[in-house]
Amino acid sequence: MAELVAVIASTHHPFYYRASTSTGPDRPDFADEWVRKVEAFRATLTAARPDVLVMVGSDHFHQLWLDNMPQFLIGKAPFYDANFYNEEREFGLPRMLMTGQEDLSAYLLREGLDAGFDLAFSNELRIDHSITCPIITLRPQNDLPIVPVYTNIFAPPLPRPRRFVQLGQTIRELVEAWPEDKRVAVIGTGHLSLELGGPRQFGPHGPDPEFDAKAVEWIAGGDLEGCLSEVTLDSLHLPGNATHGFMDFMLMMGVAGEGRKADYVDTYDLFHTMEAYFTWYPKGAGK
């Protein structure tokens, strides 16, 4: 039986790659500390010795478009090319190629459908920075097969927050019941408060530090019910117009489990948005 060896929730900051690889006068003053924090976070995944990564993220109008928009989609392919021209252009992200764990994709699709999620699938999925950023930060050698899980946090009408949590809970149950002797880590990325294309964008910190503090507390403490009691599709407009990406953090809280405190928590207050890094070890660290 498969083992869920780590659950990881993170922000996905497309500027990390450029900041961490720049040198000389181009290197921003926050880069060294950012690298230090990311490397410490990376060690939490390395310690879990995973064989397979289930990667939860969201397409940013790259392959998925308004003429045919899935709410939840699982990639099922032997390979995934990654990153797009406009991500290369704006963020300097490299083109990447990842291997797929196709049997786990097939299993999650079949069992997920039977569990009540009408999951879409893709046999030719090019993935974007919501999944490549955590590969760059957490597994830069890019040597593990993945199963991409895409959620719609972007193009309303969106599923409600509770649905994200339920999908996370189901992913956990299914991974733990996968009849393969593999060590699986589930990694999901989203945002805390975030504004894009609005008056509060690119400020000296995230648009709503109060929301960010509360969000970190919910996630770190595994306070799913507290979080669900305050977060709605409407309320998420208040901290910033792109804050619906927080629902991917809620999905990851669903994977981690109600009341499960994170084993590792770190944050980094940057301009524009706060970085936040969480790791849970369902079986205990080092098992």
């Binding site: 478009w65 003429d67 797009f84 252009r89 193009a155 309303p156 609005g198 008056p199 509060r200 690119f202």
Partner: protein, 119 residues
């Protein structure tokens, strides 16, 4: 209201490096051409198949033709699409982050709730 078509224009231009430059240099000409030749093309469909009914409202066409991103915000265009494309076109004319901050300043009087972006 044809928010979907506004978004389709921003999406289609943003993904094509030549169109990004063409829209930067000749916004009105690009919008006119695109609405005539491209607006009804169904993406991810058999080539040659097209819709028959998509057109901009006058205020939408004018906002695109004048690079008026505050107006696009007010019309409910998806802010991620607008921001991404306008950064591609105009970031190069400013100091680092200068365009993003000017963008925020030009929208500074917008208050919650923002225009609905549901298509």
């Amino acid at each position: 209201m044809s928010k979907y078509l506004l978004d389709k224009f921003l999406f289609a231009v943003d993904r094509d490096p030549e169109l990004v430059e063409r829209y930067r240099e000749d916004p009105r000409g690009t919008v006119t051409w695109w609405e005539r030749e491209e607006a009804n093309r169904i993406l991810n469909c058999h080539s040659g198949e097209a819709s028959t009914w998509l057109r901009f409202d006058d205020d939408e066409r004018e906002a695109l033709a004048t690079h008026d991103y505050p107006a696009l915000f007010d019309l409910g265009a998806h802010p991620f699409l607008t921001l991404t494309l306008f950064i591609a076109m105009f970031e190069r004319d400013h100091e680092p982050l200068g365009f993003q901050l000017e963008y925020a300043r030009r929208l500074a009087d917008r208050t919650l709730p923002y225009p609905d972006i549901t298509t």
